[in-house]
């Protein structure tokens, strides 16, 4: 029986090896096309193709255009419009890209033979850091030094506010960590659990076929595990979209705090 190695599916290997490039100040950088990079390129290609086909600007939309308009409507209506408000319009391209890119990567990871790019902490950390830096840049650009009012709760006595400020600061600084870990953990956890149940199907099935007497019950366990895989795969499709939505929604919530800092909406 094959060894059970649940983490092997997340290993990165080179698909197109390229010679290392020496970057000034960093040293040798390996820019080979790995399976992770390859699936990110595929996702970007799919999205570009999707919008190239759908953005026909017909007055009566076809199927593809209706789909693209629906996605746009959800992101505009519930995310940037619903959370940030009218001032959120400039961030719509960023949030829409974030949502579609993560969703496509998650779905590609569920395809047979696919590689889940979002189960790499480096990728999710890069996406989270990008969001975090954007929040800081927008915060300083919109409010100047008033950005620091974010850590100062209004209408609180000064001694208490001095105690709350460090807590607010820490909760602000761990945001990229929680953003990255949530996406990474959800995808990693889901795929490992599916793998474990798949290994139960084979393991218990072999045990049930070869063993005598009561060991035949293993076949029952094998069947139950198989049903579990079907259920888990369904759940993973929900999770794939939900986590992309949650990532985009949290990016909106964080942007909302700095965009509407001077007045609530």
């Amino acid at each position: 029986m094959a060894a059970i190695v649940p983490m092997e599916q997340f290993l990165i290997h080179k698909v197109v090896p390229l010679p290392p490039i020496s970057a000034p100040g960093i040293g040798q950088v390996d820019l080979s096309i790995t399976n992770s990079v390859m699936f990110m390129l595929i996702a970007a290609g799919i999205l570009c193709l999707f919008f190239a086909v759908s953005a026909r600007r017909a007055i009566v939309p076809g199927r593809m255009q209706a789909m693209a308009e629906m996605i746009y409507g959800v992101v505009d209506g519930t995310l940037t419009g619903g959370i940030i408000g009218d001032r959120g319009r400039p961030f719509l391209p960023f949030i829409l890209t974030l949502f579609l890119f993560i969703a496509t990567l998650n779905i590609l990871g569920l395809m047979p033979g696919g590689f889940t790019v979002t189960s790499q902490l480096a990728v999710t950390a890069a996406l989270a850091l990008m969001t975090f830096l954007m929040v800081i840049v927008v915060g300083f650009a919109r409010n100047g030094l008033g950005f620091f009012k974010l850590f100062m709760p209004s209408g609180m006595p000064l001694p208490m506010a001095l105690g709350v400020m460090p807590i607010e600061l820490i909760s602000f600084l761990v945001r990229p960590l929680t953003l990255a870990m949530r996406l990474f953990g959800n995808l990693l956890g889901g795929h490992v659990v599916t793998y474990m149940f798949a290994s139960f199907v084979v393991g218990l099935g072999v045990f049930g076929i070869e063993g005598p007497g009561l060991a035949k019950l293993g076949l029952l366990g094998s069947g139950v595990s198989f049903a579990m895989i079907v259920a888990l795969t369904t759940l993973e499709f929900v999770v794939a979209f939900l986590q992309a939505f949650v990532f985009a929604a949290l990016a909106c919530v964080y942007l909302n705090e700095v965009v509407n800092l001077d007045h609530g909406h």
Binding site: M181, G185, G189, V246, L250
Partner: protein, 76 residues
């Protein structure tokens, strides 16, 4: 106790973080449904916050899960 068994016990203990996440998700969805039954007209507008709360509650459990994986599979 040898190193390997301590590792497995530690990973199992890290999974206890999921208790809190499970309870939190139950409270969250239960209260949302209760509120949605009382005032169905307002349910749709609060769904974004439901999913946000879900993500925040779930992330605590996910941190425990990641800790478990780190204990099991990271070779230091």
């Amino acid at each position: 106790m040898d190193h390997t068994s301590a590792k497995y016990i530690g990973a199992g203990l890290a999974m206890t973080g999921l208790i809190g996440a499970g309870a939190g998700l139950g409270i969250l969805f239960g209260n949302y449904l209760q509120a949605a039954m009382r005032n169905p007209a307002a349910a749709a507008s609060e769904r974004v916050w439901l999913f946000l709360g879900m993500a925040l509650a779930e992330s605590m459990g996910i941190f425990g899960l990641v800790m478990g994986f780190v204990i099991l599979f990271v070779n230091v």
